[in-house]
């Protein structure tokens, strides 16, 4: 796609347990950092897109009305977007379309969640059709544990091999997070530490699972007209894609996942990505659970179906590999859900703009950001480049 919309700056909170601030204050921290980085004030912002998961997570309906004060949105267009786990990506896409419409030059995307004040799994288990799904839907961990077991069985893999490869991903992400000043959980682990940690929901163990986090992320999108004035090297949006499929688990193939393949193909086609392993320099994949990263390697075309384990083993996706995945630590280490997808975009943009600090991948020119959500339904992809 031609250069029409770019990311010109980002801001993130220090994610974690944030009892020191109210929700609007938390959001303000991210917005202020994004404005500082871009040397903009709220007066320069034409519109705001704001998103979080269901308001039940914070016990407040229509939270954008309240967050207006923390953002400084008074007198400006505000739109609340919520698409479950993929919310952060949907917020980024909405900001992208605001600018692409030609009606807005500078748009602030804000994603946030403050989970320590509520019960995330309690809320997530209230998803889905109230008659057929909800009575037995046990929340995110068990939902994705099903996907993992399906993965092992569909390709005839050995669970111990998959668990070991997943553990390597856990070691990689938690260690990379040490270089990310905003990350929530950071740790030096061994594969053995992960394999011996307690089971949360078989086959997932403690170190296979993301935490719940308080956090916010703000990303400034700009038109061709103003992008170069705001950032010397903006991260241009090269491709976007989003797709959703069946809500009923029994209706779908959750391993060779149609919605994911569709979203990826749309973004690759738009960005002209033919050989992702070669054409991409870094990827920020949505990995709330270690096993899923193996799936993404396959569904994003980094390897053949059923061969994700090989990618984890041969180090291609480590920071020194050909295609580093989640050098920020990913959402395995930091997961304020409504912000998470937007953090993937922010991290990808930072890599392209050369602003990723200690976890910068040298000479990263093209980066992919991804988010997923719903009852294993929604996938969104954004590709950014120079």
């Amino acid at each position: 796609m031609e250069k029409t919309v770019a990311v010109v700056g980002t801001g993130q909170t220090n994610h974690g347990k944030r009892f020191d601030v109210s929700w609007p204050e938390l959001v303000h921290e991210a917005v202020e950092r994004a404005l500082d980085e871009t040397n903009l004030t709220m007066q320069d912002v034409d519109a705001i897109v704001c998103g979080s998961m269901p308001g039940m997570l914070e016990g407040t309906s229509d939270p954008h009305f309240w967050l207006t004060d923390g953002i400084g949105a008074y007198g400006k267009p505000v739109m609340r977007i919520a698409t479950c786990g993929s919310t952060g990506m949907s917020v980024a896409l909405t900001a992208f379309y605001h600018v692409a419409s030609g009606l807005f030059d500078t748009v602030l995307a804000v994603g946030t969640e403050k989970q320590y004040e509520g019960s995330s799994q309690g809320v997530i288990s209230q998803m889905g059709d109230p008659h057929l799904i909800r009575p037995f839907f046990p929340g995110a961990v068990a939902g994705f544990a099903t996907q993992c077991v399906n993965y092992v069985s569909k390709y005839g893999l050995k669970m111990e091999n998959v668990a070991e490869a997943a553990a390597m991903i856990s070691v990689k992400c938690h260690s990379d997070a040490l270089d990310n000043p905003y990350a929530h959980i950071k740790a030096k682990l061994t594969v053995d530490d992960v394999l011996k940690s307690r089971v949360i929901c078989y086959p997932m163990r403690l170190w296979d699972c993301s935490p719940t986090s308080d956090g916010a992320c703000a990303v400034v999108f700009a038109s061709t007209k103003v992008a170069k004035e705001i950032a010397e090297e903006p991260a241009w949006v090269k491709g976007v894609g989003y797709a959703g499929d069946e809500q009923f688990y029994g209706d779908k193939d959750m391993v060779d996942w149609t919605a994911c393949k569709t979203a990826v193909k749309r973004a690759y086609d738009m960005a002209g990505v033919m050989n992702p392993l070669k054409d991409l320099d870094v990827a920020e994949l949505y990995n709330p659970f270690t096993y899923q990263e193996l799936l993404w390697y396959e569904l994003f075309g980094f390897c053949e179906k059923g061969r994700g384990i090989d990618v984890a083993r041969n180090g291609v996706t480590t920071r020194r590999g050909d295609l580093p995945c989640d050098p920020s630590g990913g959402n395995l280490c930091t997961h304020p859900i409504g912000a998470t997808g937007l953090i993937r975009v922010a991290e990808a943009a930072n890599q392209v703009m050369g602003r990723a600090g200690n976890h910068q991948i040298p000479d990263a020119e093209t980066a992919l950001a991804h988010a997923m959500g719903g009852l294993m339904q929604f996938n969104g992809v954004m590709i950014l480049g120079r």
């Binding site: 796609m1 031609e2 029409t4 109210s22 998961m53 269901p54 308001g55 039940m56 016990g59 407040t60 309906s61 229509d62 939270p63 954008h64 009305f65 309240w66 207006t68 004060d69 949105a73 008074y74 007198g75 400006k76 267009p77 505000v78 739109m79 609340r80 977007i81 919520a82 698409t83 479950c84 949907s90 896409l93 909405t94 379309y97 605001h98 692409a100 419409s101 030609g102 009606l103 809320v123 209230q126 998803m127 889905g128 059709d129 109230p130 894609g241 989003y242 797709a243 959703g244 499929d245 069946e246 809500q247 149609t258 919605a259 569709t262 749309r266 719903g374 009852l375 339904q377 929604f378």
Partner: protein, 382 residues
């Protein structure tokens, strides 16, 4: 990317009622999706992108679009959900087509109010948990404070406000989709039950079950689909401060700013003269008076005079809410999209008994949040 002209080419709404027992939210969404597609002879395959609008609290479901997306034909579509009024989803669909990446968009919005807790309970939960929620603030209470302030500031009377209900509930008699419709008079309105003084049963909207869908198309495509496309001339949306005490409830910055953006884009400098019909969200009767002032249809405090002079009645020069408005029909988040469907019907000449004469340019307005914190304005034209 090219910037496209965008038009409304089809729409549908349910027959809104206090309670629709035999259909789920997904059934309502399916019904309006099917009927909107049929209204312009399209199939789900022809739709490029889907924008939904619903509220998790009102639906009693986390991530409500998870449940309804397939019913809206959203399988593998570029979908998104605006968690706010349907008019905002409409604006988002418009932006997507303008980007040049899509030729068609389906916008769907629904609320099944009868399955939810009462409005005061839910709107209290949209208050922050520290300051506004503990004092019991909610939408009706905020609107009651606003109406009191309006009467005090401009010397308006309960009778002035009751006129709005008489007009809109009377207009609703001509609307087969309307929920509450009654030929009434000022006396009956001001003697109806107090809900939150000075608001009464007939000056406050009911809550309804219902859904609405609108189909948008890019310029070239729109002309292929229909002979009567309704063009989007301008949009605007904006938000006011959050805390009620921080705001001037008589001067809504959200609506002033939304109207200014929409009028500028639609090249409207004299709205009273240039508009032929308006569908304005008035969950509380006095708000129609206030919003007509903020929309620049008359001066401050002149809303009641405008109505008394008959300008905004069915036979006036700018009929406001020929459909009966939100006072008659209020499937909460869908009500803004219904305004757009109604104004489009007027401009297409398909409004049946509620049709106003020679409508060329129409205004649609939506509101959400306490005392009207967030407003959308859409100007449509032939």
């Amino acid at each position: 990317m090219t910037v496209n002209e965008v038009a409304v080419v089809g729409f549908a709404q349910t027959k809104h009622r206090a309670r629709i027992r035999n259909q789920s939210s997904s059934d309502l969404v399916y019904q309006v999706t099917r009927e909107a597609l049929d209204s312009c002879s399209l199939t789900a395959k022809d739709i490029g992108t889907l924008i939904e609008s619903s509220s998790d609290y009102w639906e009693g479901t986390c991530c409500s679009d998870v449940v309804t997306m397939e019913a809206a034909g959203g399988y593998l579509k570029e979908e998104s959900k605006v968690e706010d009024d349907g008019a905002l989803a409409f604006i988002y669909g418009y932006l997507r087509i303008r980007s040049g990446l899509f030729d068609t968009a389906l916008i769907v919005s629904q609320t099944h109010c009868s399955q939810s807790p009462p409005l005061p309970t839910l709107s209290n939960l949209s208050c922050d948990p520290f300051y506004q929620r503990p004092i019991g603030l909610e939408e009706q209470a905020a609107a009651a404070l606003q109406m009191t302030a309006y009467m005090k500031k401009y010397g308006a009377t309960e009778e002035d406000v009751a006129q709005v209900a008489v007009k809109n509930l009377g207009n609703a008699v001509n609307n087969p989709y309307a929920h509450r419709k009654v030929k009434t008079d000022i006396d009956r309105v001001i003697k109806s039950k107090v809900t939150a003084y000075p608001l009464r049963e007939l000056t406050s909207s009911p809550t309804s079950d219902g859904a609405c869908a609108v189909i948008l198309a890019s310029g070239k495509k729109a002309k292929q689909i229909t002979d009567t496309p309704v063009w989007i001339k301008g949009i605007g949306h904006s938000v006011d401060d959050y805390f009620l005490g921080d705001r001037n409830l008589m001067e809504n910055i959200g609506l002033r700013s939304a109207a200014k953006q929409a009028y500028k884009r639609a090249s409207i400098d004299n709205p009273l003269k240039q508009l032929d019909v308006a569908e304005i969200c008035e969950p509380y009767a006095h708000q129609e008076l206030l919003w007509t002032e903020h929309l620049g249809l008359c001066g401050k405090g002149q809303g009641a005079k405008l109505l008394r002079e008959g300008v905004t009645t069915m036979n006036g020069s700018l009929p406001v809410n020929p459909s009966g408005g939100v006072l008659s029909t209020n499937p909460y988040v869908a009500r803004g999209l219904i305004r757009i469907a109604e104004a489009s019907a007027q401009l297409m000449g398909k409004a049946g008994k509620r049709q106003v004469g020679d409508a060329e340019t129409g205004l649609c307005h939506s509101v959400s949040g306490l005392g009207g914190q967030l407003h959308c304005v859409v100007v449509l034209g032939k």
